[in-house]
């Protein structure tokens, strides 16, 4: 019952590489990561691919399938026509290390700089807090993030304009939003978001939301409310009055 499928995989490094074609026997329910593993086990043992859980929970196997950012473990072979060649390439917004593996260390550097969580004083004498489910639903949505960085990969500010120095990207905005909207948190990240984080670079095209494998409403629920907070923080009533008076 196994049909032969054609895959083209990027093989190479930062300096040079090419698309190489492979044939794989595809069984029922097979995902693209299975096909890549089959190639690795039988035809190309040195083929580099990152993966861990193979269940869409760790966000390691991010790459691009026919040019679209996807998790290899959550994309079924049967989503593509039987005669279609499936092309797998590394994420474009990050430097290639080898084959399908990219250097995503930049994300970890950005994360380190986001001001840390700072809880208010405990609510109860035993040192615990009281929070209600309705208050935490929003930040819980952001905590679903598996750090696959597909949203970073699709974001044109990073992918096309390479503004990694000036813009933290949607994944890290979601990371900051967890704490900004955390009911216990008292830290103020608005200045960080405006300057170092470069939140102004986002022009709300929502590509990140579309690509998120965890269906986090990145733009509407995280980025736009953060932008509003940043704007509020920088609203100066005297300056506004002056502008009004002087036209």
């Amino acid at each position: 019952m196994a049909e032969q499928r054609r895959l083209r995989l990027f093989r190479g490094t930062r300096e040079r590489g090419e698309l190489k074609e492979y044939q794989v026997a595809a069984g029922e329910g097979m995902v693209v990561l299975d096909a890549v593993h089959a190639i690795q086990a039988e035809q190309a043992p040195d083929l580099a691919v990152r993966w861990n859980c193979k269940a869409g929970k760790c966000g390691s196997c991010s790459a691009e399938i026919n040019g679209k950012p996807r998790l290899l473990c959550m994309t079924r072979m049967s989503d593509y026509a039987p005669d279609e060649t499936i092309t797998v390439t590394p994420m474009r917004a990050f430097p290639v290390i080898k084959d399908l593996v990219t250097d995503v260390s930049w994300n970890y550097e950005v994360n380190k700089r986001i001001p840390a969580f700072q809880p208010r004083k405990p609510d109860a004498p035993d040192g615990t807090w009281r929070m209600y489910q309705y208050e935490i639903e929003r930040p819980q949505e952001f905590r679903k993030c598996i750090e696959c960085f597909l949203c970073q990969d699709v974001c044109h500010v990073l992918r096309t304009h390479e503004k990694h120095e000036q813009f933290m990207g949607p994944a890290m905005l979601v990371r900051a939003a967890v704490y900004e909207m955390h009911p216990l948190d008292e830290a103020d990240r608005r200045d960080y978001l405006r300057h170092e984080g470069g939140i102004g670079f986002c022009n709300i095209t929502k590509c990140c939301t579309e690509v998120c494998p965890e269906s986090i409403t990145i733009t509407d629920n995280a980025i736009i409310p953060l932008k509003e907070r940043v704007v509020d923080a920088n609203y100066d009533p005297l300056a506004a009055l002056w502008r009004k008076l002087t036209g």
Partner: protein
């Protein structure tokens, strides 16, 4: 490809933690809090460790949902679930300290699901008398990893990602350092330190059907064994009752016990809810005896009714499922049915079990709010591991600590669901604390030893040998067939004979390509660990001539109370793996009284 001196980078640390799952992160945070200079070394990227896959929750007797709960009941449940084989002191410390460790995570930013009065909510789980698992939907492990990760990066810990440790060094019998290589470059790194915490997780990759990721090759068990540490309880490997069985490519992926905690029921192909027929004597009277009683409990009437039998301990449920399938009452794909659709409404299921909903929809095209899931047992967790001191987590090798799944003793013959996430917090913290106390200048490691270890690591490049993936897959087939849920003497002896042949094959594997990010090479290196833990499991399994908890011998189907407190100890002597029995100290009278209270 002889290693050159320029090949080696050297670092000095007070404490080196190997593994960045929950236990490793918690250990590193604690050691750092004690002002130690700490390195955290992990095989994957930070935040990808197996802990992210833990779904159901962390067990802690907070008493937020059922105020009757306290550490004594948690201790009793853990000991009974472990079939009285546990290290009692570890079980006691775990039950006493878990609540503080969970509350501490909240202080660091964790967002656990809430009770109506605003406290941390707790859900029921297999083997726990009261609702006890602090949770976040069905992605509790992910929440814990993120919180620990953020706490860690703001604590000044130095993280070395995608770095595999291949050797520990001892000088005068004490830990002096570790050699590793970076996956990206293939270059070596030497960590000089007097204290190492192993937190590498489990060994599940030695079986074909497993819920474990590629990382779970038993590296920490093998490193400690090679360094002369003792391994205990290696025969006790937990087969989780509910893994996916169809389609073939997802076989083994975990289906959380939370499905049963939220009311899911197990049925055979005849539609019978079979767990009522599998009540062990030890638990008679603790569980519902009719479907009506079980259903009432699920609806929340928990004072008058008892828990459904689907919430029996994992060893019991796995064996029941295996029996149903063996006797011809399984599904065509070789599983049984797990049905929550007929017990809870779709919105509730999606809210409480979002990743299960997603997982079945994407990978199996099954809507769990409408249809039953096809499930079967999957290799999940090893109770056995490095023998450690209960208070300090130090192994029998001075300066070498172990915490989390790689540590042995806490869970006895069978682990309760939810006790792993709390275990790694409690004992991760203790390991970090005591390892930091060990600091001091590490003794110099002779260059020749380091060079030899580097040479051995590079050997596969010099051979035109067999593909390492073929050897790995042959090993998995042997363990699945001969050291699975049901074992016997002939099978285990056969496994040992096959493993001998595989050792020879492993010594001859060759890899092609460069040292940069070369998975073929990584697999060749991991084979050494897999072979050690597989042999340890088979030898210990052969030695234990009884059935207890997760270890089931068809030729010794009953438990033998004389062996209850006997531990099978594995240790390297010369080039040989030795096996001996050791009797654990008896429970003190006050703790024994707690156990009896519950009967």
């Amino acid at each position: 490809m002889a290693p050159a001196a320029s090949d080696l980078r050297t670092h000095n640390y007070d404490v080196v933690v190997i593994g960045a799952g929950g236990a490793g992160l918690r250990a590193a945070i604690e050691a750092s809090a004690q002002k130690a200079k700490v390195a955290l070394v992990c095989k994957s990227l930070l935040g990808k460790a197996h802990t992210v896959m833990a779904e159901g929750g962390a067990a802690a007797a907070l008493g937020n949902v059922m105020s009757e709960d306290n550490w004594r009941v948690h201790f009793r449940d853990t000991m009974r679930g472990g079939k009285m084989h546990n290290n009692w002191r570890m079980a006691q410390i775990h039950a006493q300290e878990s609540p503080d460790r969970i509350n501490e995570l909240e202080a660091w930013g964790a967002l656990f699901d809430r009770t109506p009065d605003g406290r941390i909510n707790q859900r029921p789980f297999g083997g726990h008398t009261y609702s006890r698992l602090a949770h976040v939907g069905d992605r509790t492990g992910l929440e814990m990893i993120r919180v620990l990760q953020d706490k860690g990066v703001h604590s000044g810990i130095e993280v070395h990602m995608e770095c595999t440790i291949v050797r520990l060094f001892l000088v005068s019998g004490k830990i002096a350092g570790a050699l590793g290589y970076f996956r990206e470059t293939g270059r070596f790194v030497l960590f000089k330190t007097g204290a190492i915490v192993i937190a590498t997780g489990g060994i599940g990759k030695a079986w074909q059907i497993t819920s474990n990721s590629w990382e779970y090759t038993g590296d920490g068990h093998a490193l400690a064994y090679e360094a002369g540490a003792q391994l205990i309880d290696m025969e006790f490997v937990q087969f989780h009752p509910t893994g996916m069985v169809w389609p073939p490519s997802v076989r083994g992926i975990l289906v959380t016990e939370g499905v049963r905690g939220e009311g899911g029921v197990l049925k055979n192909s005849a539609g019978e809810r079979f767990m009522f027929r599998y009540m062990p004597d030890m638990f008679k009277g603790d569980f519902a005896e009719t479907e009506a009683e079980a259903d009432a409990w699920v609806k929340g009437e928990r004072k008058k009714n008892r828990r459904p039998p689907e919430l029996l301990t994992r060893d019991v449920v796995s064996k029941a499922i295996t029996r149903e399938i063996a006797e011809g009452r399984g599904t065509p794909h070789g599983g049984v049915l797990l049905d929550i659709a007929s017990k809870q409404n779709p919105d509730y299921i999606k809210q409480k079990l979002p990743s299960m909903y997603h997982q079945f929809k994407e990978l199996a095209h099954v809507d769990i709010t409408k249809d039953a899931m096809e499930i079967g047992p999957t290799t999940h967790y090893v109770m056995g591991g490095v023998k450690v001191d209960a208070e300090t987590q130090e192994s029998t090798v001075p300066g070498l600590y172990a915490a989390g799944e790689v540590g042995g003793g806490m869970h006895g013959a069978n682990r309760l669901g939810g006790n792993s996430l709390s275990d790694l917090l409690v004992f991760g913290r203790r390991a970090g604390q005591y390892a930091a106390g060990k600091r001091g200048a590490a003794a110099a490691i002779p260059d020749a030893e380091v060079e030899q270890a580097m040479r051995e690591t590079l050997e596969p490049f010099e051979r035109q040998g067999e593909n390492p993936y073929a050897v790995q897959s042959a090993l998995q087939a042997v363990m699945q067939r001969d050291a699975g849920i049901i074992r016997d003497k002939a099978g285990l002896e056969n496994a040992l004979a096959e493993l001998e042949k595989l050792k020879t094959r492993a010594r001859k594997v060759g890899v092609m390509g460069s040292r940069e990010y070369n998975p073929g090479w990584h697999t060749a290196i991991d084979l050494r660990s897999l072979l050690i833990v597989s042999e340890a499991t088979a030898r210990a399994g052969l030695e234990r001539t009884e059935s207890r908890g997760a270890h089931t011998r068809s030729d010794y189907p009953d438990s033998d109370e004389r062996q209850a407190r006997e531990q099978i100890v594995i240790k390297k002597e010369g080039d040989r793996m030795t096996v001996r029995r050791e009797t654990q100290p008896p429970l003190p009278a006050d703790l024994m009284a707690l156990i009896k209270e519950g009967k």
